[in-house]
Amino acid sequence: MDCKFTIVVAEDDANDRKLLHLALQRNLKPVEIHELTDGIETVEYLKGEGRFKDRIKFPLPDLLIVDLKMPRMDGLQVIDWVRKEPQLARLPIVMLSGSGLDQDVAEAYRLGVNSYIRKPEDFNDFVHKLGVLIDYWMMTESPNTDRIR
């Protein structure tokens, strides 16, 4: 049974998504990544709605990475929603944002984000930091979310 470490990434900017994809590929970590383009799609994925119904193809993640600024539903709203869902409330969430404003960080922590990382501007730094991020979260024990195996 293949139980790869699964990460769902919510990032609306196509360029940033491409960079993230390249950085994750460079790292060669044994992870399964699902990329989504905004907060609404993220909620649909986590609820298993629409095209995300198939939990074999779209498993619940071990880690959720969200951008702060996204259309329709932003990263803070996603965190707030997840923390109120009984089955998902304990899902580890990392906010990965270009904003380093203290008020954004404080609000994310208030809403229950586990970690807040500022996106580095340098690509090599980004690759390195993503590597550390994946190494760290793969080392941790994930809470029990309902997984269809």
């Binding site: 409330a89 304990r90 580890p92 380093g100 203290d102 960080v105 404080a106 922590y109 208030r110 586990n114 970690s115 807040y116 990382i117 500022r118 930091k129 550390v132 991020l133 190494d135 760290y136 979260w137 080392m139 941790t140 024990e141 994930s142 809470p143 029990n144």
Partner: protein, 163 residues
């Protein structure tokens, strides 16, 4: 010489304290590591009660490493208490425990733990874990509020709290 933001370790077993101290040393981690030996002492430290009211000597940590199984006030009680303190919203709490029980993992997250690590069996793995953990939480993760970098008034030879 210690420098940088403070880490608080709440652990009652002396051998585990020594292991973590040695792992930090071997891993080249020089942040001041403050040690409390019970859940009650952890709460007192974070509250600034008694000797811990001196924030120059005992700064608020950015990262709390928390054992679950401690006599009296245990790790779960500490997590419950931290969750009730709005001023500690940005404190990152990493449970570091021998327990692999999924019930403990779930309960710890439910009570607000930031993440959960199982103590490795050997020293080499403990060093690697310490390096990755501090690289992540102290090197990358953003904190909120004023910087809590510690400027020592004196350089202790042993950690405060040691008899």
């Amino acid at each position: 010489m210690s420098d940088g933001v403070a880490i608080l370790l709440a652990e009652d077993r002396e051998e585990d304290i020594i292991l973590i101290q040695k792992a930090f040393e071997k891993g080249g981690i020089h942040n001041p590591l403050f040690i409390v030996r019970s859940g009650e002492e952890a709460i007192n430290y974070l509250s600034g009660i008694g000797r811990f009211s001196n924030r120059t000597e005992y700064p608020l940590p950015v990262l709390l490493l928390l054992d679950l199984k401690m006599p009296g006030t245990d790790g779960f009680d500490v997590l419950r208490w931290i969750k009730s303190q709005e001023s500690l919203n940005s404190l990152r709490t990493v449970v570091l425990t021998s327990s692999e029980s999924i019930r403990d993992v779930d309960m710890a997250y439910k009570l607000g733990a930031t993440s959960f690590l199982v103590k490795p069996m050997d020293f080499v793995d403990t060093v690697e874990m310490a390096k990755t953990m501090t690289r992540y939480w102290l090197g990358m993760n953003m904190t909120s509020g004023p910087s809590s970098a510690w400027v020592p008034s004196k350089i202790p030879k042993t950690n405060p709290g040691n008899p």
